[in-house]
Structure formats: structure tokens, C-alpha cells
């Protein structure tokens, strides 16, 4: 097919954040935050208009009774069991380099009223910065919470999958910088093949919870051109477990509005009518 994308294997990630740095350097993005969040080593917190690669960290401990304990994390009080016994480890430290998913059916692209967001010749979802007028409608339309609006430039911005580097036949900055090849760039069909083999290998090596997120999906968002290998359920990494394409709500909304409009017009007409 010739479409290219990312395969991010979280089991190889060492949390070095070279991807974050390379991305910011190549795309000349400003530093942001300077905050120590206390959420393990995650100080970027989320993707934004100026952070296009974000490394997430989740520390999982096994409690005294042998069950998985996530009691340190708010909102998980009383959580029991889950994914077996942390694969035999006493602690599990999940690291994942999050990025724009470049969805097959992209909520941001379908929402964009100016046509700024397009799918380029490499199959990636790209925001044309000279067309975007900053309406911000793409921002709540992304089911993954990826794209943001830059309050200083006024434009919406996100990962471009290094469109400019791809045009010269070189791989994106994050893939280039990743020391463990947790982030791999290439032909999507080849990547998916490799990824499936990797899942099989991991399961043979006593990581039974390995799976692919964004491959062979039956959701309205479709397959993700930047897909992941995860070992916990998606919500652990702040990913939606069943993402929806929001634009599927457009037609039902207008049909319901049309019915209401018909009723209200008749009702108003009858009310205003005065027989002679």
C-alpha cells in the first residue's frame, strides 16, 4: 500500500525521552511546563500543541497479599486483581511514548471546517499551518485528546509524522533518536507483520498480556497509522478503550433537529394563526 507509520513497542521503551527531545528540537517547539508533576517520571503529562511526543510512566506494585496493587493511584481504591501477577515481577514499570495516532478515520480531520487538516501522500494526518484559522473545533473532536491549539500562534498543531523529513526519504526524528528502536517507522504492512510476530514472541516469553492497539480494529476510528504494543488495558495509558469517530453523530443530530423544526414551525404557525 505504501502507507507509512509508527510502531511503538512499549516493552522496549526505557523512558529516556530522547523521542520528546528530538521531536521538539527538529520541529522547533518551545519547552513547556518545567513542572515536576509527581506522576512517576512523566513531566509532560499529555500531548499538546507544543508536545508531539509524550512519554507516559505507570508504576505498578505487587501488594503484600500477592495481588496487583495500584493503590498509589487515585481513583483505584479497592482495585483488586487485574492482569494476573504482573508477569511474575514484584514491580512493573510501564513506559510508553504517546503520539498522534494518525487514524484511518480521523476525528480532527473530519471536523476541520477550513480544510487545513488533510491526509498527505504518506497517509498521515497533517495540519497545514498556513490555512488553519484557529477555530479549535479539532481539539474536542479528537477521541484520543491529541491535538491542541497553540495560544501564542493561534494555530492548532500536532505531530506531522515529520512530513518534511519523509519528503527527503529519512525517518521521523523520534524514530531516529530512539535508542532501543521502541519507535520504528516504516511501511505499515511490514510494521504490522513485525508487530504481530513480536506479540507472539512476547507471549512465549511469559508476557501473556501483550497485544496490539490500533491493528485490525473494528471501531469507527479504524486502524491507527501509529499503533502500539501494550501490556495493560488501554485506560492504564490514558488511551480510550473503544474510541468513537465523533462525526458519526452529525447525521442523527440533524435528523432529530429537522423533526423538531417541523414540529415547532407547525406549533408556532398554529399559535400565530387567527381566523378572520
Amino acid at each position: 500500500m505504501g502507507q507509512k507509520g509508527f510502531f511503538t513497542d512499549t516493552t522496549l521503551c526505557i523512558g529516556c525521552k530522547a523521542c520528546e527531545v528530538a521531536c521538539k528540537q527538529w520541529n522547533r517547539l518551545p519547552a513547556d511546563g518545567y513542572q515536576m508533576t509527581g506522576h512517576s517520571y512523566d513531566n509532560t503529562t499529555a500531548l499538546s500543541s507544543t508536545t508531539w511526543r509524550h512519554v507516559a510512566f505507570v508504576e505498578q506494585k505487587r501488594s503484600v497479599d500477592g495481588k496487583t496493587s495500584l493503590a498509589d493511584r487515585p481513583g483505584t481504591a479497592g482495585y483488586e486483581g487485574g492482569i494476573g501477577d504482573l508477569n511474575g515481577k514484584t514491580v512493573n514499570w510501564l513506559m510508553m511514548s504517546d503520539v498522534c495516532k494518525h487514524c484511518t478515520h480521523a476525528g480532527c480531520m473530519e471536523a476541520c471546517p477550513t480544510g487545513a487538516i488533510i491526509r498527505n501522500e504518506f497517509g498521515d494526518v497533517y495540519v497545514q499551518p498556513d490555512i488553519c484559522n484557529g477555530c479549535g473545533y479539532c481539539v474536542p473532536s479528537c477521541p484520543f485528546g491529541v491535538i491542541g491549539r497553540n495560544e501564542e500562534t493561534g494555530n492548532a498543531a500536532k505531530c506531522t509524522l515529520c512530513y518534511d523529513r519523509q519528503k527527503y526519504g529519512i525517518e521521523p526524528a523520534c524514530a531516529k533518536a530512539c535508542p532501543t528502536d521502541s519507535i520504528v517507522f516504516g511501511d505499515l504492512d511490514e510494521l504490522k507483520e513485525k508487530a504481530k510476530q513480536r506479540v507472539t514472541t512476547l507471549r512465549e516469553r511469559n508476557v501473556p498480556t501483550a497485544y496490539l492497539y490500533g491493528v485490525d480494529e473494528d471501531t469507527s476510528v479504524g486502524d491507527l497509522n501509529a499503533f502500539f504494543l501494550l501490556t495493560e488495558r488501554p485506560s492504564v495509558y490514558n488511551l480510550p478503550e473503544r474510541p468513537h469517530l465523533p462525526q458519526n453523530n452529525v447525521l442523527p443530530g440533524f435528523v432529530a433537529s429537522a423533526i423538531t423544526a417541523t414540529f415547532l414551525t407547525l406549533a408556532t404557525a398554529i399559535s400565530l394563526w387567527r381566523g378572520r
Binding site: G134, S141, V146, N150, N206, S220, E241, R242, S257, L272
Partner: protein, 359 residues
């Protein structure tokens, strides 16, 4: 070692097989839960951090939502009154035409102010994208604005306001105004409703879950506030002459208000736990006391009470009821924008909503 399962067998045992240690050599890479399948148990959160990004919209958009509704609603009322052709309804027709023009002149100002790059506002008209409620809406307000302009210009010509420019006066008087009104009314109904569809066509749970109701709700509120604005304007003028017109406007307002209450009641079971921002906290107070109590129940009960006592509608009653409805309408728009922020910030809401809907 790779075992080959055929597609039918791949999900045998389902997700439960993943919760046990792998049986060596018996799982293939296709044995995985797709996103479309249900994960068992409660979803996690990532430090309770938001999963989505909220819209930046603030008072400019709240104001525009309100004005768009009043514009569409008042244009519809003026059109219907014009078609019925009663002489004593002429002030209603005039007020409706001028009010809708005022609303559609002011609306783009607030929309453009809200843009991150206001100077590129015209980029909205580069394309027409049927899957984008904002693209449809941009074209909708363009055409509705045009119809409002032509209809109001015709009215101005009839009222002698264009006599300083005789050519314009003649041309505007000669416009096929009933045809323009028919088309304009349709666009007006669209403009009053599409903003609700726009909100519900996002990933924000409280908005998206209400996809069948937000468009209708905003439309009903738009008509209600449009009618109330017209009642207010007519009441501030020569009251006695408008008595009959106001009586009939009243009827329409009561039907619209009741419809709006019905839609809100329907929302509650559909939203379920997602409705918390509407009924808890500051937004909850605004919604229950501001919109439901003050903007809907109060004017409705006032009018019903007055009618049951068979008293003639008084000027102060009409003015009070109209103001209550108008303020309630502003609060309604504000609450939905604020509730959307709260909903987008809550990761549990997203997982709850995603699990409910078909993928």
C-alpha cells in the same frame, strides 16, 4: 513457535485467556482483544489526568450561540406572521426582520473574535465539508445572513428608511420577499439548531451522549428566546395595540417552553451519570435555578396562572416573563459550554461513554 488458528477460533475463550499465563505455543498473534471488544472490569485512569482536550470556547461563543438562536427564531416568527398577512401583526413582522438582522450582523463579530487567527476567518468558506458541523454552519450563517439582509432591506425600503438612496429603495421594495423568507426561514432553523449538533459531534461525553437532543434543545431555546425577544420589543412600544399579537406570541412561547422542558427531562435518563455537571456544583446551580427554574418554569407558570385567572395579559407580566426567558436562554448556552469542559476533563466519563455507544 507460531500456531495458525483460523479466524473463527481466534477469539475462542475471549479475553479471559489473556488473564492467565500464556500456554506456550498455543497463542498466535491474532489472539488479542481488539479495541472493539469489551475489556472486563472497571477501566483505569492515568493519574486521573484528562484523556481528552476540552474546547477553548468562552463567552464569545456563548454569546454567539444565544444570538444565533434569537436570530433564527425571530426570523421564523416574522416569516409566519408575514405569510398570514394580518395588518395588526405588521409591527411583529417589522420587529422580527430588524431583530434577526441585528443578530446576524453581530454574530460574525463574536465568531471572528474567538478565532485563534481572526484575520483568516474567510478560510471557513474555502470548502464545504458535510461531515463537519462547523463547515455546514459557516455556510449556513452566510446564507441566513444574506436572507436576513435582503428581508430587512425590503422592510427598510417599505418603512422609508432608504429614501436617501432611491435606486436602492426601489430595488429592495421589488424583492420577491415571500420567496426569500421561505428559504431564509429554513436557513434560520438550521442556524438555530446546528450549534447543538456541533457540540454533540465531538468526543466530549456529555455532549456526544446527547446527540439526538442537543440540536433540538438549542433550536427550541432559540425559538423560545426569539419569540420572547419579540414580545419584549413589542411590549416596550404601544402596548394596547399589540394586545392580540402578544396574546398569540404568548401561546407560541408556552408551547416552545414546554417542549424545552420535555427535552431537558428526556436528557436525564439518557445522560445518566454523565449529567452530573448539569445538576451538581456551580454549573448545576446555574442550570437548575437559572435555566429550568428561572428561564422555563417561572415564565411558564406565570403565564399559565395569569390565563387561569382569566386576566388580560399585562405589560409588566410580558416584560418580566420575556426577560426571564431570555436570561434563561443565555444561561442554558453557558451551562452546556461549561459542562463540556468538566466532562472533557473527566477520564472516567470518557470510558463510561465509550463503553455505552456502538463503536
Amino acid at each position: 513457535m507460531n500456531n495458525h488458528h483460523d479466524q473463527q477460533a481466534q477469539n475462542a475463550g475471549g479475553i479471559a485467556t489473556l488473564l492467565q499465563p500464556a500456554r506456550r505455543g498455543t497463542l498466535s498473534a491474532t489472539d488479542q482483544p481488539r479495541i472493539g471488544e469489551q475489556w472486563t472490569g472497571q477501566p483505569e485512569t492515568y493519574y486521573n489526568l484528562p484523556l481528552l482536550k476540552k474546547a477553548h470556547w468562552g463567552w464569545e461563543i456563548i454569546t454567539y450561540f444565544f444570538l444565533g438562536g434569537v436570530g433564527g427564531g425571530s426570523y421564523l416568527a416574522a416569516t409566519l406572521a408575514d405569510f398570514f398577512g394580518l395588518k395588526r401583526d405588521q409591527p411583529l413582522v417589522r420587529a422580527g426582520r430588524y431583530l434577526s438582522l441585528a443578530c446576524m450582523l453581530a454574530s460574525p463579530i463574536f465568531l471572528i473574535m474567538d478565532l485563534g487567527r481572526p484575520e483568516r476567518f474567510h478560510h471557513m468558506l474555502r470548502i464545504l465539508k458535510f461531515r463537519s458541523a462547523m463547515s455546514l454552519g459557516s455556510w449556513g450563517i452566510t446564507f441566513f445572513g444574506l436572507c436576513c439582509g435582503l428581508t430587512a432591506a425590503h422592510q427598510m425600503a417599505k418603512d422609508g428608511l432608504l429614501n436617501w438612496f432611491p435606486f436602492m429603495a426601489r430595488t429592495m421594495r421589488a424583492l420577491p420577499v415571500k420567496a426569500i423568507e421561505s428559504i431564509g426561514a429554513l436557513f434560520g432553523l438550521f442556524v438555530a439548531s446546528y450549534t447543538g449538533v456541533l457540540l454533540s459531534s465531538t468526543a466530549v461525553p456529555i455532549w456526544a451522549r446527547a446527540k439526538h437532543l442537543l440540536g433540538p434543545l438549542f433550536l427550541t431555546s432559540g425559538l423560545s428566546t426569539g419569540l420572547s425577544a419579540l414580545s419584549l420589543i413589542l411590549s416596550l412600544g404601544r402596548f394596547k395595540g399589540q394586545h392580540d399579537t402578544l396574546e398569540r406570541l404568548d401561546r407560541a412561547e408556552m408551547i416552545t417552553t414546554t417542549t424545552e422542558l420535555g427535552l431537558i427531562v428526556t436528557l436525564i435518563p439518557i445522560l445518566g451519570p454523565l449529567a452530573k455537571p448539569l445538576f451538581r456544583g456551580k454549573t448545576g446551580i446555574l442550570f437548575t435555578i437559572g435555566t429550568i427554574g428561572g428561564g422555563l418554569l417561572s415564565p411558564l407558570l406565570l403565564k399559565l396562572g395569569w390565563r387561569m385567572n382569566k386576566k388580560a395579559t399585562s405589560r409588566s407580566l410580558t416584560i418580566s416573563a420575556s426577560l426571564l426567558t431570555l436570561i434563561g436562554g443565555v444561561i442554558l448556552r453557558a451551562v452546556w459550554i461549561l459542562a463540556g469542559r468538566i466532562s472533557a476533563d473527566n477520564p472516567r466519563d470518557i470510558h463510561y461513554y465509550n463503553a455505552l455507544e456502538r463503536p
